[in-house]
């Protein structure tokens, strides 16, 4: 289909000078855009695997030099970082599971006309898309109900996400009614119909919701900043932020871990503030880069459905 289109276009193409100039300029400009987006990641990565001495003096720009992986071993020995990794991972897993379940379930339930006062509940949920109390009232309320410094403050506020519910509901409504009717004739109840008929059919949209939620959970920073002061609950994002901004705490860390991993802590391999910062950056960004290719197939779908719904 796509290649056919290209052929047709080629057949039509006349070598208009304006077209040629435009073509050349387009390629140059987009190469530049692509470079600007890729290079920073590449730059940081080659610095983490190059000699820390050279890297610290800004000598690594395009190719890694004196490749070693001590930096990654070094950061794996920082206890607070491992804790942060566990917190980030658990909130991503738990948060994603709960949000996906809630979106699917509510999307399905709100499409059932039998529910008592359905419209009111649905509107009550959807209305929350258009307002929020603001961070300070939210902060005070969370403190009052005892969620300050609790792991659940990462999870519960986003379990019911109106946008994902709308996505799921739209999808559920496109499922032929005969399917659910048949299940109900066979004696399946509301829940049974949901688990055995609806879930299998709406899997594609659930994948989209799952991936978006997972990325949002992994990236979340503001909730830690606002609602958590207990270091045991700090996430990777928050820890990374601290590493960038609090040079003094990082120095202490460098001194304590510098020699832990590498027996021969040469200048090239010893941890420095820069090396830890860059390595942690790569560690935090890596999961996103890894799921991104899978992800890409889904997000176009997600945004299209969102767009259609308007």
């Amino acid at each position: 289909m796509a290649s056919e289109k290209v052929k047709v276009k080629k057949a039509h193409r006349k070598q208009d000078p304006v077209d040629i100039v435009m073509s050349v300029v387009t390629y140059i400009v987009y190469t530049f855009f692509a470079f600007v987006c890729v290079y920073p990641f590449y730059y940081i990565f080659i610095n983490t695997i190059s000699s820390n001495d050279l890297s610290g003096r800004g000598k690594i720009t395009f190719w890694p030099k004196e490749i070693h992986f001590t930096n990654y071993i070094n950061v794996s020995h920082i206890p607070s970082l491992m804790d942060a990794f566990k917190v980030s991972l658990s909130r991503t897993v738990v948060g994603t599971i709960l949000t996906v379940f809630a979106s699917a379930f509510l999307g399905y339930m709100f499409s059932r006309e039998t529910m008592w006062m359905r419209k009111i509940w649905y509107r009550l949920v959807i209305a929350t898309m258009y307002f929020n109390a603001g961070i300070i009232p939210f902060f005070i309320t969370m403190k009052n109900i005892g969620l300050y410094n609790s792991f659940w403050v990462y999870i519960l506020p986003t379990v019911v996400s109106p946008f994902y519910i709308v996505l799921c509901k739209t999808f559920v409504e496109s499922v032929p009614k005969e399917l659910t009717d048949a299940a109900e004739l066979d004696g399946a109840g509301t829940i049974r119909t949901f688990t055995s008929v609806i879930i299998p059919v709406i899997k594609p949209i659930l994948a989209t919701v799952a991936i978006f939620t997972a990325v949002a959970q992994w990236n979340s920073f503001q909730d830690t900043l606002l609602l958590v002061s207990e270091p045991k609950l700090f996430t990777l994002q928050f820890t990374l932020y601290q590493y960038i901004n609090q040079a003094s705490s990082l120095k202490a860390l460098v001194n304590s871990t510098g020699n832990a991993a590498s027996l021969a802590a040469s200048l090239a391999h010893a941890a420095t503030a820069t090396s830890i910062r860059m390595t942690v950056t790569i560690v935090v960004v890596a999961p996103i880069l890894l799921v991104y290719p899978i992800f890409q197939r889904y997000f176009v779908k997600g945004i299209m459905i969102g767009a259609v719904k308007g």
């Binding site: 208009d16 379930f105 603001g134 961070i135 019911v160 910062r277």
Partner: protein, 304 residues
């Protein structure tokens, strides 16, 4: 009897969703009650008591207190400048999509689209970390510039308030443009192929096809997004500005959302901060309704 069973079932279904509705009430509606703090002189951890009630004191204070008034004025200027900049350049993602669509080499096109969308999925903390690595005094930009002999001492890109609004726009664009373009790419895909072919038969070159067919076809999408952006004029979010702020650029980087945060968390002004937040929320709701009405009047449909 049958009707009754249906009713029972409907009520049972309501009970299934009840836990979720409770969650919504707790996390979206109950915090609204926190607005009352704007009318008290609240200093945690002391609980609210009637004798702390101050009425509209904080709302007057914003205007009467000269220091605060100046501060808030500057914050508003920053907010308007940064939102205004992104509005002035809101055509960028659209043009990005339009010219990307002109690329014939499919693998290259796919590659560009993939890598320019990627930054949208990393957090602002990571963006800042990248900015720090690339632009600090030993970062690649400074070391290349020094090697080339263009500068003698490293430029402090991040530790200065120079062009800070524009820099913030640049980072926002770096992060978002590729993603924002996807909407337009989808809209372009929907353009009737025959229109374009007809134009070509008439001898239009690519520039003319873009100008007379592609752009007019995707303008409606542009306007929806523009209206939505305008409705969010006061809400720049705080994360981007929080991570980029430091003592050098603080005066010019503080947008409303960040100011509200700094005021409460930095200097303990919970009540004043809530008051500003309340005002902001009210103005935002009005803006949303106005833009929705404009959208309805011009395009025939709103976005609420």
């Amino acid at each position: 009897m049958k009707l009754n069973r249906k009713k029972v079932r409907g009520f049972r279904e309501f009970l299934y969703v009840l836990p979720f509705i409770v969650l919504v009430l707790i996390f979206a509606y109950y915090p609204l009650y926190g607005w009352v703090y704007a009318f008290y002189d609240y200093k945690p951890p002391a609980p609210l008591s009637p004798d702390l009630f101050v009425g509209f004191k904080w709302f007057h204070y914003m205007i009467d207190n000269e220091v605060k008034r100046k501060q808030i004025f500057q914050v508003l200027i920053n907010t308007f400048a940064i939102s205004g900049l992104s509005m002035a350049f809101s055509w960028f993602p659209m043009m990005f999509a339009v010219f990307l669509n002109e690329i014939r080499c499919q693998p290259f096109k796919k590659f560009v689209q993939t890598v320019t969308t990627l930054p949208n999925f990393i957090s602002w903390v990571l963006v800042y970390s990248i900015a720090f690595c690339v632009f600090n005094s030993t970062g690649v930009v400074n070391s290349l510039l020094m090697q080339a002999g263009i500068i003698k001492t490293p430029i402090m890109f991040l530790q200065s308030s120079e062009h800070i609004w524009f820099k913030m726009w640049l980072w926002l664009t770096w992060k978002n443009a590729g993603w924002a373009a996807i909407m337009y790419i989808a809209a372009i895909t929907g353009i009737d192929e025959e229109l374009i072919d007809a134009a070509k038969v008439d001898g239009a070159n690519r520039w003319k096809t873009i100008w007379h067919i592609t752009i007019p076809s995707i303008l409606p999408t542009y306007f929806v997004l523009l209206f939505l952006n305008m409705a969010n004029f006061l809400s720049n979010g705080m994360e981007q500005f929080f991570v980029f702020q430091n003592s050098f650029n603080k005066d010019y980087i503080q947008v409303l959302d960040l100011y509200v945060y700094n005021l409460a968390m930095g200097s303990g002004g919970y009540s004043l901060s809530t008051a500003i937040g309340v005002l902001k929320s009210l103005v935002s709701i009005v803006l949303l309704c106005v833009m929705n009405t404009i959208s309805k009047a011009t395009r025939g449909e709103g976005f609420i």
